[in-house]
């Protein structure tokens, strides 16, 4: 046997083809898959959220909101807010929730609807309001989210996102901790139509409780227009742009025939004479 030295003409051990193309194809496939799962589960959440009875919601939320449950409402401002919510609930809203108001010592002009009827109001918002009606509108707006179960939808979607992230990257990945830290934010990021519905609910509440809707838009008139991407995370950035919101509310008030009167002064800040 004669050995003839020669090199192979082609390399059969390496498949030809661009790795970049393969990468994009696979990455797009994966992203498409994730988007599909998120969309499907999101729809499932939308379907399921309004069907969760409030009793079950309370039981499910109890272990998570344990720290909120325990904190006693010592602050007179919290008691005052609580009384306002209770009044609204007793006279007009009649929602199947036991609302509890909490005050968060932060500068943000913000209020959040947490599961099981826990409304968190930020101190920044309390500093901005000047009339009781204004405050009642904000509280009724949050109650509107409960009425439409928006808070569960937001939370459900956040959970779906977390579940998908941990499925693909592992439970203790950096992506997951990033998501869980922004989950608080994402759960209150409602769609514009959800915000508008909550606004309409709040307006009806206000009219029912005070007999007029004066003061409803006062808070939004005091807020600056969100400018630039820096305010994207801001609570009101996810709400319909303020000016549009004011005009929408005024239009709705005209359509429904709500009258406008001078709002009640607020004594909440000093904590003396509350509603």
């Amino acid at each position: 046997m004669k050995y003839t030295p020669r090199l192979p003409e082609t390399n059969v051990n390496v498949t030809p083809g661009s790795p970049l193309k393969e990468f994009f194809l696979l990455a797009c496939g994966l992203l498409g898959l994730i988007a599909g799962i998120y969309l499907l589960l999101g729809l499932a959440v939308d379907w399921l959220a309004p069907r969760i009875p409030p009793g079950l919601e309370n039981r499910m939320a109890a272990p998570l909101l344990h720290s909120l449950e325990k904190t006693p409402a010592k602050d007179p401002r919290v008691r005052c807010l609580q009384r306002l919510v209770d009044e609204l609930q007793a006279h007009c809203a009649h929602l199947p929730y036991h609302f509890r108001v909490h005050l968060q010592d932060a500068d943000a002009v913000n209020a959040v609807a947490l599961p099981a009827g826990h409304i968190v109001v930020y101190r920044g918002l309390l500093d901005k309001v000047s009339s009781e009606n204004e405050l009642a509108f904000v509280l009724a707006h949050e109650m509107g989210h409960y009425a439409h179960r928006d808070h569960l939808r937001g939370l459900g979607r956040g959970l779906v996102l977390m579940a998908i992230a941990s499925l693909f990257t592992g439970a203790d990945s950096s992506l997951n901790s990033l998501l869980s830290s922004t989950l608080n934010l994402s759960e209150m990021r409602f769609s514009r139509s959800q915000e508008s519905q909550a606004d309409a609910f709040a307006l009806a509440e206000l009219n029912c409780y005070y007999g007029h809707v004066g003061g409803a838009v006062d808070l939004f008139e005091k807020l600056p227009e969100p400018a630039g991407p820096a305010s994207v995370t801001h609570y009101f950035a996810s709400h319909p742009a303020n000016r549009k919101r004011i005009s929408d509310l005024k239009k709705l008030a005209r359509e429904k025939g709500y009258s406008e009167d001078s709002p009640k002064p607020l004594n909440c800040a000093s904590g003396e004479s509350c509603p």
Binding site: P5, R6, N13, V14, P19, E22, F23, L26, G29, S174
Partner: protein
């Protein structure tokens, strides 16, 4: 922030990896041509009379090649969908050929290398499974025969 780091690593892996791979292949092809006169065969027995063999010794060559970030991500994506892991093919191909070349280079004065074997091992894998450096080692070894003129 995490995403930016990820994309930068991906780009770095792709460009640095492709550059290194092209350079390596050029070097492999040049050296393979130069060492073509030295046959390396897998035969265990050759019909060379005992008296004609001046010396016989074991020669070996090994090469360690690391995967770049882009290739690893591509392989991870392949892990989900299945199929040929093309991004690791060049890695193994380069390691095998490099180790064969190094074996031949270490026996430059021999006439033939018989009974050549190639072994592959992954190294740099920690038992904890996290933060492993995936790279592979290929060892080629054989018996170099120098014949009487």
């Amino acid at each position: 922030m995490d995403l930016i780091i990820f994309l930068m690593l991906l780009a770095l892996g792709f460009f640095a990896g492709s550059y290194a791979e092209k350079r390596h292949y050029r070097s492999i092809e040049r050296r393979e041509k130069a060492l073509l006169r030295l046959p390396a065969v897998t035969l265990k027995k050759v019909d060379i009379p005992q008296g004609k063999v001046r010396s016989a010794r074991m020669v070996h060559g090994s090469a360690v090649i690391s995967v770049d970030y882009f290739k690893r991500m591509l392989a991870a994506l392949r892990n989900i969908f299945g199929g040929k892991v093309k991004s690791y093919e060049t890695l193994l191909d380069r390691a095998r050929r490099e180790s064969l070349l190094r074996m031949k280079e270490s026996a430059a004065d021999a006439d033939i290398i018989v009974n050549v074997r190639i072994e592959t091992a992954t190294i740099g894998r920690s038992s904890r499974g996290k933060q492993r450096i995936s790279c592979l080692e290929t060892v080629a070894y054989g018996t170099a025969l120098t014949l009487e003129k």
